[in-house]
C-alpha cells in the first residue's frame, strides 16, 4: 500500500453528523441570551481603555463596555496605593489641569515600589479556558498576552486575547512561530505595540512575514516581509512599521497592497493620530516629525528598546536609566517622563533594584498623567500598575500570567 491508501483505513462507523444541526441551534440560542445579558450589563459600566492614549479621529470608541468579571477591582478607593515619597522636592501640580505641561525645578523620583508585595495583594488574571478566536471573535480586544504556565516552558508563540466582554480567546492562526535572531535568541509572537489602538487588529511579527489578525472576525492575513522580524508599531490604520533585532531602522508595511518599503523610523517611535511621530533614539535624543531634536535628561535604557515610547502633546514616556546611583556604579532602570519639547526629566519610576541586569518592563498606555506599565515578577508573571507621574501614586491594577503584554487590562 501507499500513503494514499490511508484513505481506506478501516475505522468504526461514525454518526457525528447526527444532531449537529440541533446543537448549532441550541448554541445560537445561548449566544443570543448571553448577548442580551451583556447589553444589560453595559448600562452604567465604565469604559475599558486600551493601548496608547490617542485622540482625534482614530481614538478608541468611548462606548461603555462591561468590566471584565474575572479582573480584580481597580477602583482607587479599594486598591492599595503606595505612599508618595519622592526623594526630590516636587513642584506643585494643578489637579484642575492634568494635561498641562509643568516645569518642575526637580523631577519627581519615586522610591522603588515593592512590586512583589503589591502582587501578593492582588488576584491573578490568567487566560483560562479560551475559546478559538476564529469561531468566537471579539467586538474589541482589550489586551493580548503570551501566557505563561507554572513549571512549564514558555509558549513563545501562543497568543490569547481578552475581549471587552471579559472572556479570553486563543488566536488560532496556524503556523505562528517565535522569531529567532542570528545568534539564536527567540522573541515573542507579540510586542507591546501589537494591538492596534482601537482593539480591532493584532499585528504579529514573524520570520519573513507579518500576520495581521482581524479580531472582530478571526480572519487573518499574512504579508511577506523578509527578515527576522521582532517588532511592529502601528503607524496608522493601514500601515505597520516592522523592525528587526539589531537594525536601527525598520520597514513600512502597507496593509492595503502588501508593499514593503524601507523606513527611517525605528522601533523607538510613537505615531500620533495626526500623522506626526516622535522617536526616542539612541543616547536619549528625541526627534520629532517637525524636525526638532532635543536630548532627554535620561539615557535610553535598552537602546533599540522593544517597548516603544508613549507620547502625547506634552510629554514622552520611555524606559530610562539613571547611571551611577550607588558606590558600585550601578544603574537604576525605570520609566522616565520627559518634556517632549525640551527633554527635561519630569518624573522617574524605578522598576527594579539597581544592577547590571536588563529590564523587561513594558509600557502599555498613557492617559493624561497616568502611565500604565507591566513589571516582571520573580515567578514569571507580570504586575500591571498605574503610575500617576505628577503625584507619584502607584496603584496596582492586575497581576497577569503573561510573558508579554499588549494593550492594558484597564
Amino acid at each position: 500500500m501507499r500513503l494514499e491508501e490511508l484513505r481506506e483505513l478501516p475505522l468504526p462507523p461514525t454518526n457525528v453528523a447526527e444532531g449537529a444541526w440541533d446543537a448549532a441551534r441550541r448554541r445560537r440560542r445561548r449566544t443570543t441570551v448571553a448577548t442580551v445579558a451583556v447589553a444589560a450589563a453595559l448600562v452604567g459600566s465604565t469604559a475599558v481603555g486600551v493601548g496608547i492614549a490617542r485622540d482625534g479621529d482614530n481614538a478608541p470608541s468611548p462606548s461603555p463596555a462591561p468590566a471584565p468579571p474575572s479582573i480584580a477591582p481597580t477602583s482607587p478607593t479599594t486598591a492599595p496605593t503606595l505612599p508618595t515619597s519622592p526623594t526630590s522636592p516636587t513642584a506643585p501640580t494643578s489637579p484642575t489641569s492634568p494635561t498641562a505641561p509643568t516645569s518642575p525645578t526637580s523631577p519627581t523620583i519615586n522610591p522603588l515600589p515593592h512590586y512583589e508585595a503589591l502582587a501578593r495583594s492582588m488576584s491573578t488574571e490568567a487566560a483560562t479556558d479560551p475559546s478559538n478566536l476564529s469561531s468566537d471573535p471579539v467586538h474589541r480586544g482589550v489586551m493580548a498576552i503570551v501566557p505563561t504556565y507554572d513549571g512549564g516552558p514558555r509558549p513563545w508563540d501562543v497568543v490569547d486575547v481578552l475581549g471587552d466582554d471579559g472572556r479570553w480567546r486563543y488566536v488560532d492562526v496556524p503556523g505562528l512561530e517565535p522569531t529567532h535572531d542570528e545568534v539564536g535568541y527567540q522573541f515573542y509572537a507579540i510586542v507591546p505595540t501589537s494591538l492596534r489602538w482601537d482593539g480591532t487588529r493584532l499585528a504579529l511579527p514573524q520570520q519573513d512575514h507579518v500576520v495581521v489578525v482581524d479580531l472582530t472576525t478571526g480572519d487573518y492575513q499574512s504579508y511577506d516581509v523578509p527578515g527576522p522580524n521582532v517588532g511592529v508599531v502601528w503607524q496608522d490604520a493601514s500601515h505597520v512599521l516592522v523592525t528587526e533585532e539589531g537594525r536601527p531602522t525598520g520597514k513600512l508595511l502597507d496593509l492595503d497592497d502588501g508593499t514593503v518599503v524601507l523606513s527611517e523610523r525605528s522601533a523607538n517611535t510613537a505615531f500620533l493620530p495626526d500623522g506626526s511621530w516622535l522617536t526616542w533614539g539612541y543616547g536619549g535624543t528625541l526627534t520629532s516629525s517637525d524636525g526638532t531634536r532635543v536630548t532627554a535628561e535620561v539615557a535610553n535604557a535598552t537602546g533599540d528598546q522593544r517597548t516603544s515610547p508613549l507620547v502625547d502633546d506634552a510629554v514622552a514616556v520611555g524606559l530610562g536609566v539613571i547611571k551611577n546611583v550607588d558606590d558600585q556604579g550601578n544603574s537604576q532602570t525605570g520609566v522616565a517622563v520627559v518634556d517632549r519639547h525640551s527633554g527635561k526629566l519630569l518624573a522617574f519610576l524605578p522598576t527594579r533594584q539597581p544592577g547590571p541586569d536588563s529590564d523587561s518592563t513594558y509600557l502599555l498606555a498613557l492617559n493624561d498623567d497616568r502611565v500604565t506599565l507591566a513589571v516582571g515578577l520573580e515567578n514569571g508573571s507580570r504586575i500591571v500598575v498605574r503610575w500617576d507621574w505628577r503625584t507619584g501614586d502607584v496603584t496596582p491594577v492586575e497581576v497577569v500570567e503573561a510573558g508579554m503584554i499588549s494593550g492594558s487590562p484597564e
Partner: protein
C-alpha cells in the same frame, strides 16, 4: 440559520462525516478525539450553513478541523511532551496500522502536511492555505516528514515516495 437548510446540511454532513473523521483520526491518533473535532466543526458549519451552502463547505470545515487540532495541540503540548507515548503493536500484516503509528511519531505539523497532501489529496497551495504556511514550508515539512518515516519505519520505505 434557516430551518429550510437542515435537509441539505444533514445530507452533506452524512456524506462527509466518515472521511472527515478518518483524517482527524490520522491527525490525532485518537478516534474519540477525532469524532469530537469533527462534530464541533460540523456544529460550526451548521450555524453558518446559509452562507456556506453556496460556497465550499468542504474546504471550510476541513480548515476548522485542522485549526482546532492545532489549537488543541498548542494548549496541551506540555502534556504531550511529558506523557510517554503508548506503544501499540499492530497485528502482523496490517500495514495501514503500522503506517498510522509511524505517523504519530511525527510532529503535529508534519503529520498535518502528510495527511492533507496524501490523504486529503490537496495541492501544495491548498495545503499551505489550510495550515497558514508558505508553499516552500509545506514542501520542507513534507520532505522532512517522509525522511523521518523512512527512518522510523524502514519496513515502509518502498511506500513512501515524495510527491511533486
Amino acid at each position: 440559520m434557516r430551518e429550510s437548510g437542515r435537509e441539505s446540511f444533514e445530507t452533506w454532513a452524512r456524506s462527509r462525516q466518515q472521511g472527515l473523521v478518518r483524517s482527524a483520526y490520522l491527525l490525532t491518533g485518537d478516534f474519540h478525539r477525532a469524532e469530537d473535532l469533527v462534530q464541533d466543526a460540523l456544529v460550526k458549519a451548521a450555524a453558518r450553513w446559509d452562507t456556506l451552502v453556496g460556497g465550499h463547505p468542504d474546504a471550510w470545515v476541513r480548515t476548522v478541523v485542522y485549526r482546532d487540532q492545532v489549537s488543541w495541540w498548542r494548549r496541551h503540548r506540555r502534556e504531550v511532551f511529558t506523557t510517554p507515548r503508548e506503544q501499540t503493536v499492530p497485528p502482523a500484516g496490517e500495514t495501514a496500522l503500522v503506517l498510522r503509528d509511524a505517523l504519530l511519531l511525527l510532529t503535529p505539523r508534519q503529520r498535518a502536511v502528510l495527511v492533507l497532501r496524501y490523504v486529503e489529496d490537496l495541492s501544495l497551495a491548498d495545503t499551505a492555505h489550510v495550515l497558514g504556511l508558505t508553499v516552500g514550508s509545506v514542501k520542507k515539512h513534507a520532505s522532512v516528514a517522509l525522511a523521518r518515516l523512512r527512518e522510523t519505519a524502514p519496513e515502509l520505505e518502498e511506500l513512501l515516495e515524495e510527491r511533486s
